[in-house]
């Protein structure tokens, strides 16, 4: 899948504002509010299909369907949210919101993941595309910006839950009708474990490295 990451998108205060608004839209915090803030909730913006006026008012998918036909209509139902989500992400990208996220996050890379801040662009790319993230990581290593160990740690972060945004709002949308938590919460859990997994790898690699160093010393 292609990423639209441009190397030189300008990051201004608008970028940070757009990023903040997009996070609020996807978080689900205003899903149940009664005031005007409902207007910025993703689920509310997705809306509802009209009901076919049978006795219980089901929508075009009806009830009691099964197999390929039912699956087809279900996927059709799920297409508007995916279109909306990626449209919003695209706007965020266009205004430099993703680069703003990169600026906010890259000081955290060293303490949180043990990798240098220069991984930021590949980090953002990996949220949208597995192949782009992998390719940029290889470039980082080939250019000498990251070591082999840092590459392994970074790859672990990427691999588990790769193309996170694309998968969550693409395939994951299949489960949105059944979610009983705010939309952003499972996504936070995913990021928590991506970071945890990378740190487990970081720990094991460091142990391995120390053991090898000890072995060669003796």
């Amino acid at each position: 899948m292609d990423s639209n990451i441009k190397q030189e998108t300008n990051v201004t205060w608008v970028s940070y504002l757009v990023l903040f608004i997009v996070i609020v839209i996807f978080s689900g915090i205003f899903a149940k509010s009664t005031g005007i803030f409902k207007a910025v909730d993703f689920g509310q913006l997705v809306g509802d299909f009209g009901k076919i006026p049978f006795e219980k008012g089901y929508n075009f998918r009806g009830t009691g369907g099964s197999g390929a036909k039912d699956g087809f209509l279900m996927a059709l139902q799920l297409t508007p949210p995916v279109i909306l989500a990626l449209g919003i992400v695209s706007i965020c990208e266009g205004y430099g919101g993703l680069m703003a996220a990169h600026r906010l996050l890259s000081p955290l890379f060293r303490p949180l993941l043990g990798i240098p801040g220069i991984c930021g662009l590949a980090f953002i790319a990996s949220l949208q595309s597995t192949d782009t993230g992998g390719g940029m990581t290889k470039e980082l290593f080939d250019s000498g910006f990251i070591s082999d160990q840092e590459r392994t740690i970074f790859c672990q972060f990427q691999l588990s839950g790769d193309a996170t945004i694309t998968n969550y709002f693409g395939s994951g949308a299949a489960l949105f009708p059944f979610l009983i938590l705010p939309l952003g919460l499972p996504l936070l859990v995913i990021f928590f474990f991506k970071i945890l997994g990378a740190n487990i790898m970081r720990f094991i690699i460091n142990m391995d490295f120390k053991r090898q160093a000890d072995n060669t010393a003796h």
Partner: protein, 156 residues
């Protein structure tokens, strides 16, 4: 500014087009496939059999036996995993609680077989640790099942 920025509507449409493609060519075939697989398993009685066998293992995570279908499909394909969870939830074989619980797990251990090539292979990551990458990712998914269970309990 040398950069030629598209208007906001053009940005939206470009992303919307990607979303449409992902949905129609990625998600839809996976959901259709998953619904067909679940239908097959239901008609053949295999789903009942599999869920009986897997029930003790799935109970460790607070999930019904049927959920093992989701985990196995997710490992091969994230879209397939999400689709099968949706199919099971739609037919009432798993509850909304279970479906919510499964979402992070599916994403975290999803498409492991293909992603190992597309991420680790493309990045040329050290072969020595590929098995560990796989183990950690699956562990991430399974631990997430517990975390989600706790979160759901806490938020009532």
């Amino acid at each position: 500014m040398a950069e030629n920025r598209l208007g906001i509507l053009d940005m939206f449409v470009a992303g919307a087009r990607r979303g449409f493609n992902i949905s129609m060519t990625g998600m839809l075939p996976n959901v259709v496939m998953a619904f067909v697989v679940i239908r097959f398993l239901n008609l053949s009685g295999l789903l009942t059999l599999i869920s009986k066998i897997a029930a003790p293992l799935m109970a460790v995570f607070g999930l019904p036996g049927e959920a093992v279908v989701v985990l196995v499909t997710a490992f091969m394909s994230t879209g397939g995993g999400c689709g099968s969870a949706a199919a099971l939830a739609a037919s009432g074989s798993i509850s909304y609680v279970h479906a919510t619980q499964l979402l992070p797990c599916i994403i975290l251990m999803g498409s492991m077989i293909q992603y190992m090539g597309r991420c680790l292979g493309t990045a040329d990551a050290s072969r020595k640790y590929w098995w560990l990458h796989c183990v950690i990712s699956v562990m991430n998914g399974l631990l997430a099942l517990w975390v989600m269970k706790i979160l759901i309990l806490f938020t009532g």
